[in-house]
């Protein structure tokens, strides 16, 4: 009898929790899918402006094509560089895997060279910007322990993410503020081993595109280097019907014209 009561109590308690609030794992999974897995596939043209401590700016312009293989884990990316001019025409593909290193190929058109890129460090700069590889293609949610904090703003979930393997990353933890309405992560703040805030990523603009809430402008700031990068996404389109073939050596050598408007 006692057992049944306990069981009922547990059921009622957890049932209530489901009704009112998602658990932290569900929130993180929804936010992750919102950021990286919307639609079957997608395209965006990213214009990235890097500003360094001296106020000098550099521009990166690239088209990103994306195909979801398995929601929440495996994806393919195709990246084509439009600017700067010295790397124009360079392209690379990523086969993102969960649980093992991604496969990456880089194509250097001047030499007609397809190189395989050893890239186990996902926390290195993406194309010389303040964004990291992991910011662009996503950090696997399994790599961190997640904790729901009592945030100051009731419109947001505030999640504290602590790496399970602290040795391979430069942060001790990071917090993410997620919009409760649409699960778009609006701000991420990274804290170093001494607990000091040193890096942030902010969504500056969110638009609904083909029914998908999409971040169209974002900013990454490196407080130590006093540099930042603002990325604006244009020509965003979901569910284009991209095929697997695009993400192969064939289209590295012969960029898929129809998806790469200048």
């Amino acid at each position: 009898m006692k057992k049944i009561l306990v069981f009922l109590a547990v059921l009622i308690f957890t049932g209530n929790a489901w009704a009112e609030e998602l658990n932290v794992g569900q929130i993180v999974a929804k936010a992750n899918n919102r950021s990286y897995y919307q639609g079957k596939d997608g395209r965006a043209k990213a214009n990235m402006m890097v500003t360094d401590a001296q106020g000098r700016s550099r521009q990166r312009q690239l088209t990103i094509l994306k195909l979801n293989i398995k929601e929440g884990s495996d994806q393919r990316y195709y990246v084509y560089f439009h600017k700067p001019n010295d790397v124009k025409g360079m392209s690379y593909i990523v086969w993102k895997h969960s649980g093992k290193d991604d496969d990456r190929w880089l194509y250097l058109p001047a030499m007609d060279l397809v190189r395989r890129i050893a890239a186990s460090d996902k926390r290195s700069s993406f194309a010389g910007t303040t964004f990291l590889y992991e910011d662009i293609s996503g950090r696997s949610i399994d790599l961190d322990a997640h904790e729901l904090l009592a945030g100051s703003d009731p419109a947001f979930y505030t999640i504290k993410n602590t790496p399970k393997d602290a040795g391979v990353v430069e942060f001790s933890y990071y917090t993410v503020s997620i919009d409760k309405n649409n699960f778009v992560p609006m701000k991420a703040e990274y804290f170093d081993k001494s607990g000091k805030l040193y890096r942030s990523i902010e969504a500056l603009e969110v638009k609904e595109i083909q029914g998908y809430p999409t971040v169209t402008k974002m900013k990454a700031t490196d407080l130590n280097a006093n540099s930042s990068t603002i990325t604006e996404f244009g020509d965003i389109q979901y569910d284009l019907g991209l095929s697997n073939d695009i993400f192969t050596e064939r289209f590295l050598r012969t960029p898929p014209q129809q998806w790469l408007k200048e």
Partner: protein, 426 residues
């Protein structure tokens, strides 16, 4: 070249009605100043204090064929890239090098064609080539031009097929383009006719294969992925791109012996990095028994490589190349007493180190060749700085060395240089 240009131009204008060609193609490229000073004087060559001094303007464009026509429907793209060079080393009035002039199109969903002048590369090596027999410019490599210039273009037809089972690349090269190798003008080298390191005094010449149907070269690659691992088979039928055989000793003539290469490669994730393995069997059909002292023997080449990302924008790579001449005893028996001769085998190790700084705007690069068997090596050091999105400054050193004068790098030891390139891209 002129003929290829005319044909390509004619094709474009015949197929594309001018009225539709309203969207003008975009032009990009760079202007560059190059200088390479010698670290030791070499009075054998044309200028004893430097081996590189030139200005270069590169212009390139890609033009998707517009309108309602068959080439447009086939996603036709016209590509052009050419360099105008003022080479002050030779004090020329200027030369023009067309690096790309081709038309690429896809007549079927499983087929791509690229016809015209193009740069061709395949294989898994890093600065080491077993199954890539496409022409290279080793003089550019030694004097400090950009890596781009290591590869020379070919006038070729490339047909690529993508059936389910395996991808196929078939390349047909009607006219032979040899490697550019040291000839003593700019870079001194070992000339067996001179019996030592030679410069301007070298008067040997290499005879190219005649323009004949039987001299058309073919290159084939079959490749596919198995999960994350790539496998490939290669076949090449043509000529040794460097002149290693003697045609007429009295007239100091070399030639490019016929060469068939059969090869294979694997590349994929390995021990937290990328591993690659490649082999090639070089069949010298004009000396299949190996007993002709004047013609290069058949050979086997093996390559193992490994590259790893150590984090913090630091990458390391190592390679091991082993080459073995076949029928070596027959070759040795055939030699005359005064002949210079090749060793039976060669071991070559390479090390690469690449480190990026300052948000990846500064790149420090080290590439070292070292052959313990030949007691020679070649250290390449470079530092490239992206001053802005337009300006890039590259400085570096080319440091070949060796105990002997006959070996690949040993013969280059008087050509050590420090180079500088300043490029403005647009």
């Amino acid at each position: 070249m002129k003929r290829a240009f005319l044909i390509a131009t004619a094709v474009i204008f015949l197929i594309v009605p001018p009225a539709q060609a309203l969207e003008l193609p975009q032009w990009h490229g760079f202007i560059e100043q190059d200088f390479g000073g010698r670290l030791n004087q070499d009075s054998l060559t044309k200028h004893k204090n430097y081996n590189l001094l030139e200005q270069r303007v590169q212009l390139k464009t890609r033009y998707a064929i517009p309108g309602e026509n068959i080439l447009s429907a086939w996603n036709g793209v016209f590509s052009y890239k050419g360099d105008f060079v003022l080479d002050e080393y030779f004090q020329t009035t200027g030369s023009y090098e067309v690096r790309e002039l081709n038309l690429a199109f896809s007549p079927a969903s499983f087929m791509d064609i690229k016809a015209g002048r193009q740069v061709l590369t395949w294989g898994t090596g890093d600065y080491l080539f077993i199954n890539d027999l496409f022409p290279k410019d080793y003089v550019s490599f030694y004097i400090g031009r950009d890596d781009e210039y290591l590869k020379k273009p070919s006038d070729a037809l490339r047909l690529s097929l993508y059936p389910e089972i395996v991808n196929i690349d078939f390349v047909l090269i009607p006219v032979f383009t040899p490697n550019t190798i040291p000839d003593g003008q700019r870079v001194s080298f070992f000339d067996s006719f001179e019996g030592g390191i030679a410069g301007l005094n070298s008067d040997r010449n290499a005879v190219k294969p005649a323009h004949q149907a039987r001299n058309i070269q073919y290159a084939l690659r079959l490749y596919r992925t198995f999960g994350s691992t790539e496998g490939a088979f290669y076949y090449y039928r043509g000529f040794d791109p460097s002149p290693r055989s003697y045609l007429d000793e009295a007239n100091r003539q070399l030639f490019y012996e016929r060469l068939d290469v059969y090869g294979a490669s694997l590349r994929g994730p390995f021990l937290g990095g990328i591993g690659n393995a490649e082999m090639g069997y070089y069949r010298s059909s004009q000396d299949s028994q190996g007993d002709n002292r004047l013609i290069e023997n058949s050979a086997l080449k093996w390559l193992l490589g490994y590259e790893k990302d150590l984090g913090h924008d630091l990458k390391v790579g190592v390679q091991y190349l082993y080459e073995q001449k076949l029928n070596y005893s027959k070759y040795r028996e055939a030699l005359l007493s005064q002949d210079y001769y090749w060793d039976e085998s060669r071991h070559l190790l390479t090390q690469r180190l690449t480190k990026l700084y300052k948000n990846q705007t500064v790149m420090l690069g080290l590439f070292n060749f070292w052959s313990p068997s030949n007691k020679e090596g070649y250290l390449r050091l470079s530092c490239a700085y992206d001053l802005t999105d337009q300006w890039k400054l590259t400085v570096g050193f080319n440091l070949p060395w060796g105990e002997d004068n006959l070996t690949d790098f040993g013969m280059m030891k008087e050509n050590k240089n420090a180079f500088m390139r300043l490029r403005y891209s647009f």
